[in-house]
């Protein structure tokens, strides 16, 4: 195929890539504000370092693992596009006139944010070096295969395990990003163990405006994530955009309503959390449901995630910032509800889904798509959980995960990074030595 550039689609995809990239610093604030003041820097560093590690691996062989020629429906050939040597005719987005470099850029941002999301499950207590190693291994062994299986023609795509039923719908990454990160977070939380004082000592967010800032930047960037996943500037991208607005807003209101009923007051942490829950849930469905579907998905996600974040206390695992409660549960909500709400009424709503997918139960398509979605979700959870657990175990036995209890009490920022987030009394210190 001859490549013909579409400057409009390309313009949108470059902008969308930039928006998605901003989500990771946004996440750094969403997470960073939520931990105690003595761990804010470490939390932010887990996100920032993911940008370096996952970005580097992606351009070297990660992209090729995900989108190279298929091997056993599980992985792509890493040699195909090693170092991102790709002609535009081979571009993942060639059919819409978006060059290879831009396609690779967009995909890179997804790998980065997915790794960063996991860090919330193990806040305040892990060695920075182990985290870096984990990020590198995880992108290689979990993210890239999952992306291949779902988007690269693998087991979780149209010709995969549900081929006899229908094509699974994952518009923007409900499985690849959120179920994946959520299941991985659960595995690590179990493996790494609880923070000292978990469930008995107060661990309130040290800076709620930072959490709001993070939520705002995430929401902004997510328009690139969801509407960008159309790979083109058209009406379907617009639909994804609208659903990303509405489902998110409704999830926020639903979370607030749940809190008001249950706890007596609607909190700003609840609003920020509801925003993210809605964003997560609408991700797989972004362009596959109409206005009503997106309202329903938002409402369900807002309520269920608000309830789910308490589970960790009940079951005693320290998923510190609720990667499970928000990303795993929210990702499942969106992925499964597609089976009820999917519709391809492009005419009036700009809605779209891939060939071979079917309308949802409420839109006259019967139960088939629902079954397909559930199967895909279950496989994705299992794959991510198991492989992540094994990676985590290997690291536990080699580098080790935990910092010392003493360092945890004093604060990981000081112990691991030799810094503290905020200035205290400006005295009591002298410059000892200066290096160059």
């Amino acid at each position: 195929m001859e490549f013909e550039l579409d400057s409009g689609n390309t313009a949108w995809m470059i902008a969308a890539s930039s928006l998605v990239l901003l989500m990771t610093p946004g996440l750094a604030f969403f997470y960073g504000g939520m931990v105690r003041g003595k761990s804010v820097l470490n939390m932010m560093m887990m996100s920032f370092s993911a940008m370096g590690v996952a970005g580097l691996i992606w351009v070297l062989y990660g992209y090729s693992l995900a989108f190279g020629s298929d091997v056993a429906m599980i992985i792509g050939n890493p040699a195909d596009y090693f170092g991102l040597a790709i002609t535009d005719a081979e571009s993942l987005m060639a059919s819409v006139g978006v060059p290879a470099t831009v396609a690779a850029a967009f995909q890179a941002t997804f790998a980065i944010i997915t790794v960063a999301l996991i860090s919330g499950a193990i806040a305040d207590r892990v060695k920075f070096g182990t985290w870096i190693a984990f990020a590198a291994i995880w992108v290689t062994l979990v993210y890239s295969p999952m992306a291949h299986m779902v988007w690269g023609g693998g087991l979780l795509g149209g010709d995969g395990i549900t081929a006899g039923l229908s094509t699974p719908i994952d518009f923007a990454g409900g499985t690849v990003v959120h179920i994946n990160a959520g299941a991985a977070g659960l595995a690590l939380a179990l493996l790494v163990g609880k923070r000292k004082g978990f469930g008995t000592e107060p661990m309130r967010p040290h800076n709620l405006p930072f959490v709001m800032l993070g939520a705002g930047l995430l929401w902004f960037g997510w328009f690139g994530f969801n509407a960008g996943s159309e790979f083109a500037a058209d009406g379907t991208a617009g639909r994804a955009w609208l659903n990303t607005l509405v489902a998110t807003g409704v999830a926020m209101l639903a979370w607030l309503a749940t809190e008001k009923v249950r706890d007596g007051s609607a909190t700003s942490l609840g609003a920020a959390s509801g925003v993210v829950a809605g964003l997560v849930a609408i991700t797989p469905a972004a362009a596959a449901v109409d206005t009503y579907g997106s309202i329903a998905i938002g409402a369900v996600a807002g309520v269920l995630c608000a309830l789910a974040v308490g589970l960790k206390y009940k079951y005693g695992y320290d998923d510190s910032l609720d990667v499970v409660g928000v990303h795993l549960v929210g990702g499942l909500v969106g992925t499964v509800l597609i089976g009820l709400f999917a519709t391809d009424n492009a005419e009036s709503f700009g809605v779209w889904y891939p060939d071979g997918a079917l309308n949802g139960l409420f839109y006259g398509g019967g139960l088939t798509q629902l079954v397909t979605q559930v199967i895909v979700a279950v496989v994705a959870v299992a794959f991510s959980f198991i492989v992540t657990y094994l990676i985590g175990l290997a690291l536990k036995m080699t580098l080790g995960w935990r910092i010392s209890e003493e360092d945890e009490v004093a604060g990981i920022d000081l112990a691991v990074h030799g810094e503290s987030g905020y200035e205290t009394i400006q005295s009591g210190s002298v410059i000892r030595e200066v290096r160059a």
């Binding site: 107060p202 967010p205 706890d263 007596g264 007051s265 308490g310 206390y313 609720d322």
Partner: protein
Amino acid sequence: MKLVTGVIQPHRLDDVKSALEAAGVRGMTVSEASGYGRQKGHTEVYRGAEYTVDLVPKVRIEILVADEDASSIVDVVVGAAQTGKIGDGKVWTVPVDDVARVRTGEHGDAAL
């Protein structure tokens, strides 16, 4: 000399300060504090976990006074800080051996 220390409700600080000025007090030192006492704290809920916050914000004021002024100054503080609600705070007096003014090195009542 005496040191009169008051732990009061933050929103009473301005009134206390005015009352002290009116009573001829020319200086004081103020700092932030948190109080624990009969005044019930409150409950905060963060993502499904309920915390009982039993420390409430207070302001501490410290006033060095001559011996003879101590009890009247206590009264001034009590009067100006009082709202009648639980949690209004305490004022106490401690004996002071000596006071020095840093700027001049003066000691005793002259340093106030």
